[in-house]
Symmetry: C2
Subunit: 226 residues, 2 copies
């Protein structure tokens, strides 16, 4: 029996052909929307004949329902973006492997590479950080400073529920270099990017959002983001 | 008229539903395989009715054929992985925008996030580097040292034509910390990862390959890669 991890990418048509095939063949299918990336999967269900059960994160983490389901048939676990960006999913895989289940992965678009849409060079990004909703901890400030000290950009992902204006204000209080690109709905038809100072980032519009703190830029990058 | 950038992901079924739809609707379709990621697109052609023309890199860079085609109809430019990881494609987009053409992007899986399959935490990677086939330049050595100085992993992409054994040997001569994960065919059914010292990396098997130079690891990471 196999547990198939299938990435949903960044919009309701972001799943790959491989992922669709695995859904068609599966005995059970689950999805989890922990990030603020909610998707309408009715089109995918219609196309594949799969019934997709939405799980709260607690059931994924504690009860490992997708692993349970794979004990008695092929199960698909759908994940927004690309499946192994998040630690939770690594644990699920580990558990499946410990139970001698097969595991497969179907990759899909992730915000971590979609950010190339901004015109910034993906190879000039340092370490990615996540900003918690309760405030900016010293570890995040340090990681940003490390990237900044060697001129690299920092991708700042936001905890679910954290607005982009609020995030920008939290960062502005902690760091000096405040030039950023505020991104909304990357990978969708309504994708937008705004080059601004942290103090000027607008809070409006629906997410998902992310913020890129800019390090040194090349001439090419300046052309593209200009 | 629109130039659609469509990611092909990491295998012949890696294209998204959105990408397929754009191919179905397009007046012209092109693909470029500069990386060592050659794909069989006959299934995609059959499914969408599109005829996909393969372009050598020179025609993409100098003659900008996909942009030309988008002047008189909707054109799709297919790119292995996720489209905006590579600078060439940014230039193509820039050119299209300067000619007042619409641009769209359909994202897909990339080796930059698929490397999460190794069990290494994507948020513990520093800057990505590319190893040229003619030898390891000081700039690459410096970037690896920067990542290493703050305990981060380095993703090393290989220039087309550079074998993994050869790449490991080039790196071994330049850097001290030599624990690595050698990856083959990430994102395909034949995906494999091997934790080894640089001096022990085997040269066999077909690509695409990449090498991850390991920084400090967490207990969780050690469990997964073990």
């Amino acid at each position: 029996m196999t547990l198939h991890f299938v990435g949903l990418g960044l919009n309701s048509e972001g799943i790959s052909l491989e992922g669709l095939r695995r859904l068609e063949e599966a005995d059970a299918a689950f999805v989890e929307f922990y990030t603020n990336l909610e998707m309408d999967l009715s089109g995918v269900e219609e196309r594949t004949g799969a019934e997709i059960e939405e799980l709260p994160r607690a059931e994924v983490e504690r009860e490992m329902l997708p692993v349970e389901a794979a004990e008695s048939g092929d199960a698909v676990f759908l994940v927004p973006g690309d499946p192994f960006a998040a630690t939770t999913h690594q644990e699920l895989r580990r558990e499946a492997e410990e139970r001698d289940l097969e595991v497969s992965v179907s990759h899909a678009g992730s915000v971590l590479t979609a950010v190339g849409e901004t015109g910034l060079d993906l190879y000039r990004f340092g370490r990615t950080v996540t900003l918690p909703s309760h405030g900016c901890p010293p570890s995040v400030v340090n990681m940003i400073a490390e990237n900044d000290s060697v001129g690299l950009h920092t991708m700042v992902l936001l905890d679910p529920g954290l607005g982009i204006g609020e995030a920008a204000e939290m960062l502005r209080q902690e760091i000096d270099n405040s030039r950023c690109v505020a991104c909304s709905r990357l990978g969708t038809d309504q994708s937008s990017t705004e080059v601004a100072d942290l103090s000027e980032v607008e809070g409006g519009g629906s997410g998902p959002h992310c913020l890129v703190l800019m390090g040194d830029t090349t001439d090419k990058e300046e052309e593209y983001i200009g």
